[in-house]
């Protein structure tokens, strides 16, 4: 270490020696005194130097808290050093450093001391009370077999030794690499790349199986990937050497001690201490594949109780990977089938060999049909989807998947249930669904429909029609399908149909399941999201609050569904303008999601996005922007580039750039969002209309009125077609089109547009909502310009009052003040008008720049006032015509 290196330079924040000395002296003086005395000293010595005072207080505080932290730091490092065994010899090896520590022992990097090339090895010292002699004896027995495991993807076991302090040690090939699951994440491997890597792992396990060696403890921490991307399996053969049951075959299976293992990866037969075969490795590979594809284990075993652990592993069916992971569409179908087959509870239902497992993955990768068979209906659904991958819109795909998902869930429920009676009932349910879907997919089969491509809408219409006229033995299954179909209509933007089916599902659920049931809460939540989309904000609030309270009663305060309900309630509050109430709910929902789902989860990205959304509305752009960016990054990573939520994030980023008056950046993002939405939804969809409207508004504010006008008209017309003529979100487009018309001298049209916008908002929004101010101001100014002071005055006063409630939006207040000043001038109250105008004009010019149309308008008014003539002309304003995407609503199918 070079002493001349100015390492200490970073410490003490570049404080000057003089300053330091003064502070040090003051501290030494003060620390000796009692409280009163000290305060007097500090008052005297720091007179007028608040910074000095703060610093000396910090030092005194540090003195009180320091305790033995220096000694602890030294002791802590000494303890680590002591454990490092650095320089110690184990057998013929010399320890270089400690690599890590696990529950069974510690692993060291060591070199063979008597060899010229100082070959590196890893030594695992077993610290858990095991009989060293016995382990050595077993090792000698197994040595021949283990030596035969010469494979490029297996880290060889070289030797067994005893440490100086008498502990058994295994010497093995040293691998410098990264755990396979971490490797996949860090390298951002695609699903295909993960499958290829996994197949290499399979080839190593196959080779071992050919040598009659079962690994018994396959898991990510036993598979390292080197910098060259080569996976290496560790610890082959060790688990058996350490297994108390494996050598003494005279012991009855039931009497065998509980095997030590990693519960998440242990097969049912391992947990039950039954015979371990190659099928156990197939199972563990299934768990590994599950983890690599979804990022989480198939089930959580967070209990130490052996019986509970056994129950979970032996009985609980894992969720399909496609339902657990981010790559829903990519995983459903073949990969679900492959993983679930490897994870079958009974060894004989799994793949008969690792070759078979690996072979199916290969077939999947090259597009051949896999050997494993899921139940026929899911398979049919999958086939349908593959055939339509190019022909049908993404939305259709997700609808069909959703339906297929219900079937699979029902099927799994059927498999998972052990009680016979329940199993019978579940089977009946599954079969009923199956029948329904089989027919549905038959009509959708192009070979029967003469090759004509079916649209998502048609698929849904047929499904809905069949649902309605078919007698259902199981009303709750019917309700589940109605709910799914309703939600699919919602996703496609057909809100009327959505409402009909969601409501029908709710009614059935209430009748069959009672008023208090999770399925009822789900229906209420879905209804709330729909009401929100339809602009019925108060009803949405009531419905989501009811869902939230019910879920809390049924699930407790901490549950993903509760977090979703919190989110949905917050949306309703936000839509009504109560941002202050929405924010804490969104924060709570986000924190809960992070606790329950981890940081890397699409639902967490939704939470981040929605929190940013409310912060944006609250005017905290500095906090909101990075959160929007975070959500966008996470969604791209977790959901892929082409996803509605990515489009939403792009739109929101555009929005926040617009708010900060980066019109160019905003336009770019709005365009990207719009393009993506057109790809995803086609030309006609509410989200596309929102995108068009936002683009129009940013063009308007950039002064590009010619391009803004047609876009604005198109957005308005599309919304009228899709949402009807009474939807409150039409007001955004009415207002911006009105502005374009005013600026371009489009005559009387603007007034009608403003009036209609104001009416829609008055019907949907509570008094005091800031969107009301925008509409009132636009109309008020227009009337003022026209000389209709009587009608203008209440509107302008209302706008100003609403805006003054949020003084932090200074330019918006100024805009309303400047309009009111215009009114006062017209009424002859010139002095008052002038004071108000001069101040607001300054604010507008400072905040928006002198070229902004609103600033120019205020300046004109001021000049007019000086001439004491007319009351100015120009455009109405209000930067409130950008429509923020409604926050993503949560939807869970049971």
């Amino acid at each position: 270490m070079n002493e001349n290196q100015p390492e200490g330079a970073t410490a003490f924040h570049g404080m000057s020696p003089e300053r330091w000395r003064r502070l040090d002296a003051l501290f030494r003086d003060a620390v000796e005194r009692d409280d009163a005395d000290r305060a007097a000293l500090l008052d005297r010595a720091c007179d007028g130097d608040a910074e000095l005072r703060r610093e000396v207080e910090e030092l005194l505080d540090a003195h009180r808290r320091a305790g033995s932290f220096l000694e602890d730091a030294a002791l802590d490092e000494a303890a680590r050093l002591a454990e490092s065994r650095a320089g110690q010899r184990i057998g013929a090896y010399e320890v270089v450093e400690q690599l890590g520590r696990g529950g069974m022992g510690t692993v060291y990097l060591a070199v063979r001391a008597d060899e010229r090339y100082r070959k590196q090895v890893a030594i695992k010292v077993i610290t858990r009370g095991l009989d060293t002699d016995e382990v050595q004896r077993r090792f000698r027995q197994e040595r021949q077999i283990l030596a035969g495991l010469d494979h490029p993807n297996i880290a060889g076991l070289l030797d067994a030794a005893t440490s100086d302090d008498g502990l058994p040690c295994f010497v093995m090939e040293y691998v410098d690499g990264t755990r396979i699951d971490h490797y996949c994440e860090r390298q951002r491997l695609s699903v295909n790349q993960r499958l290829e890597l996994f197949r290499t792992v399979c080839s190593a396990v196959q080779a071992a199986h050919r040598n009659l060696v079962v690994h018994r403890d396959l898991k990510p921490s036993n598979i390292l990937v080197t910098a060259d991307g080569v996976p290496k399996l560790l610890d082959f053969g060790i688990a058996k050497l350490l297994d108390p049951a494996s050598f003494d075959q005279t012991v009855e299976p039931t009497a065998r001690p509980f095997r030590r293992m990693t519960p998440e990866y242990a097969s049912p037969e391992q947990v039950r201490s039954e015979n371990i075969t190659t099928a156990s490795d197939v199972y563990s590979l299934g768990v590994l594949l599950y983890v690599l594809l979804t990022g989480r284990p198939p089930y959580r075993v967070d209990t130490n109780r052996a019986t509970e652990m056994e129950r979970v592993i032996c009985e609980q069916e894992p969720e399909r990977p496609s339902a657990a992971g981010p790559e829903r569409r990519r995983l459903s179908g073949d990969l679900d089938t492959v993983v679930l087959k490897a994870l079958a509870k009974e060894p004989e239902r799994r793949y008969a060999s690792v070759e078979q497992l690996s072979g199916d993955l290969k077939r999947h990768l090259v597009g051949q049909p896999i050997i494993a068979r899921p139940p026929t209906f899911s398979y049919r659904a999958g086939k349908f989807l593959r055939r339509h991958r190019t022909g049908v819109a993404m939305a259709a795909l997700s609808v069909a998947l959703l339906l297929a998902g219900i079937v699979t869930t029902a099927w799994q429920a059927h498999v998972a249930t052990t009680a016979r009676a329940t199993a019978e009932a579940e089977r009946g349910r599954a079969e009923e669904v199956t029948g329904f879907l089989e027919e549905l997919f038959q009509v959708a089969d192009p070979s029967r429909t003469e090759g004509e491509t079916i649209t998502a809408r048609e698929l849904l219409d047929r499904g809905a029609a069949r649902l309605a006229d078919q007698p259902w033995e199981q009303p709750e299954v019917q309700a589940r399908l109605l709910d799914a179909i309703g939600w699919s209509y919602h996703g496609l933007g057909y809100y009327d149909d959505a409402g009909r089916y969601l409501e029908e599902a709710l009614v059935i659920r209430r009748r069959v399941l009672g008023r208090e049931h999770l399925a009822v809460a789900e229906s209420l939540d879905n209804m709330a999201a729909l009401l929100l989309a339809r602009g019925e904000y108060a009803a949405a609030r009531t419905s989501s609050r009811e869902a939230l309270e019910m879920r809390r009663r049924l699930l407790g305060d901490e549950h993903p569904s509760v977090a979703e309900s919190l989110n949905n309630l917050a949306q309703a509050l936000q839509a009504e303008g109560d941002y202050a109430a929405a924010e804490p709910l969104l924060r709570e929902a986000l924190a809960m999601k992070k606790r329950l789902l981890g940081d890397d989860h699409p639902s967490v990205a939704v939470g981040v996005n929605n929190l940013a959304g409310v912060l944006n509305l609250l005017g905290d752009y500095e906090t909101a922007e990075p959160l929007f960016r975070e959500a966008l990054g996470a969604r791209r990573r977790l959901l892929g580039e082409k996803h509605p939520q990515v489009a939403e994030s792009l739109n929101n980023l555009g929005l926040i750039l617009y708010r900060q008056r980066d019109y160019q950046g905003a336009e770019t993002h709005f365009r990207q969002a719009l393009d993506l939405r057109r790809q995803l939804y086609g030309e006609e969809h509410p989200a596309v209309a929102r995108g068009l409207g936002n683009l129009a508004t940013v063009l308007l504010d950039s002064g590009d009125y010619a391009r803004a006008e047609p876009l604005s008209r198109e957005a308005l017309a599309m919304k009228e077609r899709l949402l009807g003529e009474e939807h409150p979100s039409l007001a955004f487009n009415l207002n911006s089109l009105g502005q374009v018309l005013e600026v371009r001298g489009g005559g009387p049209g603007a007034e009608a547009l403003y009036r209609r916008a104001l009416r829609l908002r008055r019907e949907a929004l509570p008094p005091g909502h800031r969107h009301l101010a925008t509409s009132a101001l636009a109309l008020g100014q227009l009337l003022l310009d026209r000389g209709d002071l009587e009608q203008a005055e209440p509107l302008l006063r209302e706008a100003l009052e609403i805006r003054r409630a949020r003084p932090e939006d200074a330019w918006r207040v100024a805009e309303a003040e400047s309009a009111l000043a215009g009114l006062l001038a017209a009424l002859g109250r010139l002095r008052k008008a002038e004071t108000l105008l001069a101040a607001s004009c300054d604010v507008l010019e400072a905040e928006l720049g002198p070229e902004d149309r609103r600033a120019r308008r205020a300046r004109e008014r001021l000049r007019d006032l000086a001439r004491q003539s007319s009351y100015g002309s120009g455009s109405a304003g209000g930067q409130m015509m950008i429509e923020q995407d409604p926050p993503t609503s949560a939807h869970t199918s049971q």
């Binding site: 270490m1 390492e7 003490f12 030494r28 540090a62 003195h63 000494a78 890590g100 529950g103 036993n222």
Partner: protein, 208 residues
């Protein structure tokens, strides 16, 4: 000053004889400054050997105290029949410095290993270090001590002797040739400065 770093230490160290260390110590007290340079690597090696030789199963925490190690090294390396109180103080002065170096080198090595990002073969059970309270990072502490040294070398030295050498107040005063009160005050102030530099973040502090 040529402080040896770990890489300069031959991996196959011969345990230095008592005679050699004692001779160097005496030569130094007779004014031979070069003896210090020879002495330091010997002390470093011995401390490193002592520290890393402690095995888990026989470990009770007191044997790990760096200060106890320094005293043990003294007993092993120095022929106490032949040296005086002054030599003892000199030895501890060096040993404290070397102990700090041993521990900081080790901490730095761990940091480096962490930065390389490899996870190595930890298995048999998921690697899980028992959660310790988080004592100050020794590399950061070393850094802060260097920073402190730029303002007041004596304060840094008092800290080094007390924390890494385990010297008592009397011994520290003797080694540095200052009064006991000075040692007490320096140690107290240094600790406050270092804690302010290294302690918990602002958020955890009580409002001033």
């Amino acid at each position: 000053m040529g402080v040896p770093s770990q890489t300069e230490v031959p991996s196959q160290t011969v345990v230095p004889t008592q005679t050699e260390v004692t001779r160097l110590l005496l030569a130094w007290s007779n004014g031979n400054q070069a003896a210090v340079d020879e002495l330091m690597p010997l002390v470093y090696d011995e401390l490193h050997r002592l520290a890393s030789g402690r095995m888990r199963r026989e470990r009770a925490d007191h044997t790990l105290q760096p200060t106890a190690l320094v005293h043990e090294a003294y007993v092993r390396l120095v022929d106490q029949q032949r040296v005086e109180w002054k030599n003892r103080a000199q030895f501890f002065g060096i040993a404290a410095q070397m102990m700090r170096r041993v521990l900081v080198d080790h901490a730095r090595g761990r940091r480096y290993a962490k930065r390389r990002g490899s996870e190595h073969q930890v298995s048999l059970d998921e690697a899980s270090l028992p959660a310790r309270g988080r004592p100050a990072d020794l590399v950061a502490l070393d850094d802060a001590l260097r920073g402190l040294e730029r303002f007041d070398a004596r304060m840094a030295r008092v800290t080094e002797l007390r924390v890494f050498g385990g010297l008592s107040i009397d011994e520290t005063a003797e080694v540095l040739g200052v009064s006991k009160t000075t040692v007490v005050n320096d140690a107290r102030a240094a600790k406050a400065w270092l804690y302010r530099e290294l302690g918990p973040e602002d958020g955890e502090r009580e409002p001033a």
